[in-house]
């Protein structure tokens, strides 16, 4: 994954400061010094007598950030100064702050610890020189096969008690050289805990700095200081932000301020284009591969997907994002030879393979975190954390991702992720482009559940056929390639067991993987021992419509301040059939019922014919978010829809009704007389 290291570094510091310690790994003591606070830093006093009423475990007294960002040659490298002061209010606060963590990248950064004070009853102890420090290479993204070289200094001060104030400050010096002389960054303006005082100060020799606050309207003050331009912003009594959760990034309730020397997205595109320029076309291996894939494919469209699947499946995902390689892709020939690469490597290799055959393709930078929210901030390289590939083919645009696995089918069948906007490197449209102005279906699932009963006294058989398309097919393909059938069977049984008593698998699940149409079909067969319930002359059973439970959920927070995220456009259809053992009478309202909401459409219908009860239903998610104004209606719709997810069917026990057998005989005779097969 491509990362803005500088941004990540300071964000991590704040996040740890607010969230507490994380897991440790190996040790590396490079790049750490203890020295005094630089003279350009302005000391910010804070009030220790303020009320901690709104705080919980920790009272955050001061969060101060001061950056010295010089672009002229010969000046000192950029410096990022941080100071945090917090009072530990109880044991939970003590526990979560017993060690302090500061992340930086020794490849191009140095950590300067200036001060670590423990203040108890107004008396301060300075521990900067004596504190035990462990250098830990956490490689937080190792599980994602990303090696980024980031190191965390873990400071473990002794004798901290409840009521103490911890006040520490440090500077991270240096910045990833890949970003050149133009500066950008972002500072959070509020957190999920209240902060008594929050400061941001930027000193720079640049005249091009722009600021943009998001979520709150704030403008930094501008002064002169030591011959530099000084931007300052100070907030007191910053209230905590209540995050509803389940919200798309563009509706994040948190505030921050962006600063950037990039005047527009085109300038960012030009920066990226330099990194991707001039690599790939002179490699014989890549050309040979392109020819081989072309020979194997039966159409140009097939060639595109063959190239994509080669990059996805034959090039192992591994991100060695050390130093400049955080953002600069490796040459396709190198990626091909080593058979590994990260998102930008794969994107460039795929674009190269396609271009070699005359198909227009470009790497495209996207943000998996901000998505549609990317337009809220200022243009900067730090806005992106992932690279995919844009292909323009026969008047259509396809956003392909070389890092996805388990994809299959033609171009029209592929699943996708909607990252909102992309910056297509070197494209004629150098600005941000919306990936899917009208997002297509990301997933489709068709489920048929059939319950077959031979009589009212025996167990019934439940047969389930589930057909998955697009993203849903990829998820199932992943599951069946990574888990044993036994494990999958256990998972399925566990799921159905929550609804049906006495259910057991008749056989292990089986599947068909149609890789030409990206369709994954699963077959399951169960036996349910206790399906029928009897009371007097009635027989009844519960019907569970399980197809939507995982998709349509009640928001955890219903009194919301932000829209509720539904997810990508999806369609699910479900057919439930109950084959009654003998002729029964079921009186149903057979009219289709539609529940329409701006964000979704749910339709269901009951039918009963030839002793088979059929319930058909379908759900279409039309929008990825439920607007706040539609939320009440959504909850009402959901309530209404949920009635269709669990209900009881009741029939009269034929054996207990006089004349019933005569009716069945009559119907049987009418079938014969009428030729049975009349529809």
């Amino acid at each position: 994954m491509l990362k803005s290291k500088m941004l990540v570094a300071w964000k991590c510091a704040v996040i740890f400061f607010l969230a507490g310690p994380v897991v440790q790994a190996g040790v590396n003591s490079n790049g750490y010094v203890v020295d005094s606070t630089p003279n350009w830093v302005v000391e910010r006093p804070y009030d220790t007598s303020g009320s901690a009423m709104n705080a919980q475990a920790v009272q955050y007294l001061l969060v101060d950030q001061q950056h010295r960002l010089l672009s002229k040659v010969g000046k000192r490298p950029s410096q990022y100064f941080y100071r945090f002061a917090m009072r530990l209010l109880n044991r939970a606060g003590l526990s979560s702050n017993s060690q302090l963590e500061i992340s930086f990248n020794p490849a191009y950064q140095t950590l300067h610890l200036h001060s670590l004070k423990i203040i108890r009853n107004g008396v301060a102890r300075e521990l900067a020189s004596s504190v035990y420090v462990r250098m830990v290479q956490q490689e937080e993204q190792l599980s994602l096969d990303i090696h980024d070289g980031v190191v965390t200094a873990v400071l473990i001060p002794e004798d901290i008690r409840v009521g103490d104030i911890i006040d520490y400050s440090y500077t991270i010096e240096g910045r990833n050289p890949i970003f050149g002389a133009k500066y950008f960054g972002a500072s959070r303006l509020d957190f999920s805990a209240p902060v008594d005082k929050l400061g941001l100060r930027i000193l720079t020799d640049s005249k091009k700095f722009k600021f943009q606050s998001v979520g709150v309207e704030l403008e930094p003050e501008q002064h002169r200081f030591q011959g530099l331009t000084e931007y300052t912003l100070l907030r007191n009594d910053v209230p905590k932000v209540i995050d509803d959760g389940e919200t798309s990034p563009e509706y994040s309730p948190f505030s921050w301020i962006d600063y950037s020397e990039y005047t527009n997205w085109k300038a960012v595109n030009e920066w990226a284009a330099e990194l991707y320029a001039g690599v790939g076309f002179d490699s014989e291996e890549v050309v040979a591969l392109s020819r081989k894939l072309r020979r194997q494919s039966n159409s140009w469209e097939d060639y595109i997907t063959q190239a994509l699947f080669f990059v996805q499946n034959e090039i192992r995902y591994l991100g060695l994002e050390l130093g400049e390689n955080s953002h600069r892709p490796r040459a396709p020939t190198e990626v091909l030879n080593k058979r590994y690469g990260d998102c930008k490597d794969k994107s460039l290799l795929l674009a190269t393979l396609l271009k070699l055959q005359g198909i227009q393709a470009w790497p495209a930078l996207v943000s998996t975190n901000s998505r549609y929210g990317i337009t809220r901030g200022l243009p900067s390289p730090g806005a992106f954390d992932h690279v995919i590939t844009l292909v323009e083919f026969r008047g259509k645009r396809y956003w392909l991702d070389g890092t996805r696995m388990y994809q299959a089918g033609g171009l029209a069948d592929l699943g996708y992720s909607d990252y909102g906007f992309a910056l297509v490197v070197g494209h004629r449209d150098a600005s941000l482009q919306q990936m899917y102005p009208e997002p297509p279906l990301a997933s489709r699932v068709d489920i048929i559940e059939e319950i077959i009963a031979t009589n009212f006294n025996e167990p019934v058989i439940l047969k389930v056929k589930s057909e998955y398309h697009r993203n849903a097919a990829e998820v199932q393909r992943y599951q069946f390639q990574n888990l044993s059938l036994d494990a999958i069977n256990r998972n399925f049984l566990e799921y159905y067991g929550r609804f049906y008593d006495g259910i057991k698998a008749v056989e292990l699940p089986s599947y068909e993987d149609d890789t030409t149409g990206n369709r994954f079909t699963i077959h399951e067969v169960y036996q349910i021992d206790d399906f029928w319930n009897k009371k007097d002359s009635l027989i009844y059973n519960k019907v569970y419509n399980l197809s939507y439970i995982q998709v349509l959920k009640t928001p955890k927070v219903q009194q919301r301040t932000t829209p509720y995220r539904l997810g990508s456009p999806r369609q699910i259809t479900s057919i439930f059939q109950l084959h009654y053992p003998k002729d029964v009478t079921l009186n149903l309202e057979e009219k289709p019922i539609t529940i329409e909401h701006p964000a979704l459409r749910y339709v269901y219908q009951d039918q009963f014919e030839d002793d088979v009860y059929t319930h058909t239903s379908s759900l279409v998610l039309k929008q990825k978010d439920v607007a706040l104004t539609d939320l009440d209606k959504y909850l009402l719709s959901l309530k209404e829809i949920r009635k269709d997810w669990e209900y009881t069917l009741t029939v009269v026990n034929p054996e207990s009704v006089p004349g019933y057998s005569d009716l069945q005989k009559l119907k049987a005779r009418l079938k014969v007389i009428s030729g049975i097969d009349y529809e």
């Binding site: 009963f608 014919e609 004349g659 005569d662 119907k667 009418l670 009428s674």
Partner: protein, 402 residues
């Protein structure tokens, strides 16, 4: 008790003043209210029991109970609707009171035209804003079919009938009365208003017009036919008078029934109206495709209804496709198992086709499942069951049921 090959003549029953017609049923079990629910409804009549009052209306229609039905009518609202169509100075106060009394009396006495007992069922009821509706229809087996939508209003906390719409004849009662009285009023003064050179003609037209009204009052179909022929052309061109004639003519022989229907088709058939009325015409002329199209269009207006499905089945039967007939009846049976007309309809056809064992199955279903009570010699007295009653199957059933 039994079906009467209904499609020969669908339309018989009129509900008011010669123009509301009826005969139909519903998919619900037995919508006839029992005495308890009737008395409760009479006492309550609140806005909350629309369904109950609809059942009571259907019950009153079935019992041809003029008085009971009239008690549910708010004649003031009906009268005001009709009188609103007249100019204020059309009547002196005395004339107005007299006119109102006559109209009230007419509604009271003619709210149900036929006195035959035919089952009426509620098809559906509904509320939109302050407007309550009950769609009722007569039983298929009563010798005719009608769909009537009653409009009710909440008057002082009680639901009162304020109008009704004959969906088969496509006429609203208040509109019909308005038109009729406008014509009467106009014709009564026509000789005064006429120019001297027109007087002779006008008087002649007056005579013929009022002779027709007298013929309607007489209830004599022959007299009505003669009077209708002599009606001035401008009245013949109004559906009102042709439909009035039809109310009384359905019991007559096919040629005269055909004549009346032909007249309606010729004069009004091209207007896209009277689909249901003209089904009989198409049956008499063996134009089954046209009959089916008309029925399908009517079904679209009314919605799902087992009676209409049975009529569609009967159309297949008429065309000799018995398999389709039985299959469709089976479908109706499956979808509306409690709609008894289906069983009788199937029974008659099974008897006609000589499937006596199967016909007995139907009788068993009716007796055991629906607890239907058969009267002595119920079948022996009807000529169409003569052969059936001689069969072993029937005799066995009779011995068992006895």
């Amino acid at each position: 008790m039994s079906s009467t090959q209904v499609l020969k003549k669908l339309l018989v029953i009129a509900v008011t003043a010669g123009l509301l017609v009826g005969c139909a049923s519903n998919q619900t079990v037995n919508t006839e209210p029992d005495s308890q629910s009737v008395s409760q409804a009479s006492e309550q009549n609140s806005t909350s029991d629309l369904e109950t009052i609809c059942n009571v209306i259907a019950y009153d229609l079935g019992e041809s109970d003029h008085q009971s039905l009239y008690e549910k009518v708010d004649s003031d609202i009906i009268l005001s609707r009709i009188l609103d169509t007249f100019d204020e100075d059309s009547f002196s106060n005395q004339e107005f009171q007299k006119f109102k009394q006559r109209l009230d009396g007419l509604i009271r006495s003619k709210i149900i035209l036929r006195s035959d007992k035919v089952r009426w069922d509620v098809v559906r009821s509904g509320v939109v804003n302050d407007r309550y509706t009950c769609l009722v229809r007569s039983s298929l087996l009563g010798g005719g079919v009608s769909y009537v939508e009653f409009e009710l209003r909440n008057v002082d906390g009680r639901l009162r009938i304020v109008d009704w719409n004959d969906l088969v004849r496509e006429v609203r009662m208040t509109d019909m009365f308005s038109e009729l009285f406008h014509d009467i009023y106009e014709m009564a003064d026509a000789h005064i208003m006429a120019m001297p050179y027109q007087v002779t003609t006008v008087v002649k037209q007056q005579k013929r017009y009022f002779e027709y009204l007298a013929a309607i009052r007489s209830g004599d179909p022959n007299q009505m036919l003669v009077a209708y022929d002599k009606l001035p052309l401008r009245f013949k061109n109004k559906p009102l008078y042709a439909l009035a004639l039809l109310n009384y003519i359905t019991d007559m022989d096919d040629p005269r029934y055909y004549k009346v229907l032909s007249n309606i088709k010729k004069r009004f058939g091209g207007t896209g109206r009277y689909d249901f009325l003209l089904i009989d015409y198409y049956l008499l002329t063996h134009e089954y495709d046209s009959a089916k199209s008309s029925l399908d269009r009517f079904k679209k207006r009314i919605g799902e209804d087992p009676l209409l499905d049975l009529l569609l089945a009967e159309l297949d039967n008429k065309q000799g496709n018995k398999q389709k007939f039985y299959a469709k009846c089976l479908q109706v049976m499956n979808n509306n198992p409690n709609y008894l007309d289906t069983y009788w309809y199937v029974f008659d056809q099974l008897v006609a086709d000589g499937y006596y064992d199967d016909a007995v199955l139907v009788l068993n279903v009716l007796a055991n499942l629906f607890e239907y009570t058969f009267y002595d010699d119920a079948f022996e007295s009807d000529v169409k069951y003569r052969e059936f009653t001689k069969s072993t199957a029937f005799k066995g059933w009779k011995a068992g049921s006895g």
